[in-house]
Structures are given as structure tokens and as C-alpha cells.
């Protein structure tokens, strides 16, 4: 199993943010005037969207062993704005035996188009023992 996961690329459009967060007034995600009033240059993507991207990375990597038995721990360190392009990365850090298989722990992070990390953390899932 490779130590570096294939990356994902995500184009963050305002329309996707709107669908994700629901359009409402007084929202830093979908109300541009409110976002600017709160000091942001544009509406922000919800940080939670990045957890969905990491979930996709891990589901593609470990399949059912992430959907049932997976974990994720993320810290959001920079805003993601409408119009940004994120790349989602993963590198295997650890494999440890666990009841029913091997837990694979992956260091994960999202990077914007300027190479700045926007979210960092770890995710894990269970690689089932053959025949288990």
C-alpha cells in the first residue's frame, strides 16, 4: 500500500458553498456584505467542507473501513474563500494491529492555490484482515 495517497483537487464555488451551508442573511458563508463586515475579503467556505474532502480521500483509500470505523481530527488554520482551489493530501504515518485488522493512520491536509495549508490533521480507518 502506497505511503502517499493520490491527491484530490476541489474548486470552491459560491454555488457549492450556498448548497452546503444554505443561503441565509447574516452568514459569513453566503452573505457577502456580512462577510466583509466581519473582516473577510469574500464569503468563506464552511471549514466543515474540508472534512468532507478528507472523508473522500480516505474513502477512496480504505473504502468500507473508513465509512465504518474511521476517525478524523482536523484543525482549521486558514480561511477558504469562494473561488479558491484546494488540494487535499494524505501520507500514511502509522499502521497498527487492531481487533479485526490493521488501523492505518494518515496525516492529512488541505492546501490552497497559493500553497498555504488551510486545514491539517489526521484520519484513520481499518484495513480488514483477509477473510476477516
Amino acid at each position: 500500500m502506497a505511503d502517499t495517497l493520490p491527491t484530490l483537487t476541489k474548486e470552491i464555488s459560491q454555488r457549492k458553498i450556498d448548497v452546503y451551508s444554505g443561503v441565509k442573511p447574516h452568514s459569513i458563508h453566503t452573505d457577502e456584505a456580512w462577510a466583509r463586515k466581519k473582516g473577510f475579503k469574500a464569503p468563506l467556505a464552511q471549514a466543515m467542507m474540508s472534512t468532507a474532502y478528507v472523508s473522500e480521500l480516505m474513502t477512496r483509500f480504505l473504502g468500507a473501513g473508513f465509512v465504518k470505523g474511521g476517525t478524523m481530527s482536523m484543525v482549521f488554520i486558514k480561511p477558504v474563500y469562494a473561488g479558491d482551489r484546494l488540494t487535499v493530501h494524505g501520507v500514511v504515518k502509522e499502521r497498527r494491529a487492531e481487533a479485526g485488522g490493521t488501523r492505518v493512520v494518515v496525516e492529512v491536509w488541505c492546501e490552497n492555490q497559493d500553497g498555504e495549508k488551510t486545514a491539517v490533521g489526521t484520519a484513520s480507518g481499518l484495513l480488514e484482515r483477509a477473510g476477516g
Binding site: V19, H26, A52, A64, F76
Partner: protein, 140 residues
């Protein structure tokens, strides 16, 4: 009639609990989520190893994140940290509810934060997801 005060860090109590409304996860919800996060994995629309389609593991994360809105008006905040344990697949048709407890509040660099531990359960009590999250509050 229920009153919804504005959320104020000073008034927030560690140990406060929140309960969401019950949410029916529909195939349309799964489709909309797939569009929003640009993830069209076939397990979400066709068959999966769990028998039938499933939803994205994170589809109910916003139900948990919005728990404090069940008691307060929250003008704005920033999400600082998120943890998940995905215990069971979420299937279209499930009716799910999240419950949370404020387990910590603190100030760092002059900014107020609250930490909530949560669990998201199906109507039959099956725990689907659990975890905790940290949110920064805006003071004005």
C-alpha cells in the same frame, strides 16, 4: 413560547446540553451534498458494501455543528477544530438526531472558544457518529 437569547461567551455554561431536531436523510439530501462537496462516489447513488446506497460519512456534521442554534441566536463564529468517529454508515431513510454537551470554554489570544462533545444517533438509538468540535465566538 421558547426564547432564543443571543449566545454570549460569558453566560455560556460548561455542562450545558443541546438537542437537535430529527432530520430525515433523503436521497435528495445525499445528491445535494454530493454536488456541494463534489464527491460523486457510486456508493452514494448505487450499491455499497453495506447493502444499498449510503450517504457521505460527514453528511450530518452540520446538524451537530448547529446544535447551539437550538437554544441561541448565533450571529457568527468560526470553526476551529473537528473530530469524528464514524461508527455506522448513514443510509438514506434514516432519521437522525444529534445531542451535545459543552465540555469546555476558554479564551486564547483574547478570543473566546467553546468545545462541544456530540453524538449523532438514528431513531432506534444506533450511534452513527460521535466526536467533538471547537468553535470561536464573535463578541460583537
Amino acid at each position: 413560547m421558547e426564547r432564543f437569547p443571543e449566545l454570549k461567551y460569558e453566560a455560556l455554561q460548561v455542562g450545558e446540553t443541546f438537542v437537535s431536531d430529527t432530520k430525515l436523510v433523503t436521497p435528495e439530501d445525499v445528491e445535494a451534498y454530493a454536488f456541494a462537496v463534489d464527491d460523486q462516489h457510486p456508493w452514494f447513488s448505487e450499491d455499497s458494501p453495506f447493502g444499498g446506497p449510503i450517504a457521505h460519512p460527514t453528511i450530518l456534521a452540520n446538524q451537530a455543528l448547529a446544535l447551539r442554534h437550538s437554544k441561541y441566536i448565533v450571529r457568527a463564529g468560526l470553526h476551529a477544530k473537528m473530530e469524528f468517529e464514524f461508527l455506522e454508515p448513514i443510509r438514506p431513510g434514516v432519521r437522525a438526531r444529534s445531542r451535545g454537551t459543552v465540555i469546555d470554554k476558554y479564551e486564547r489570544r483574547g478570543k473566546p472558544y467553546m468545545v462541544t462533545e456530540y453524538v449523532t444517533e438514528a431513531e432506534d438509538g444506533t450511534v452513527l457518529v460521535r466526536g467533538r468540535f471547537t468553535q470561536m465566538l464573535f463578541r460583537d
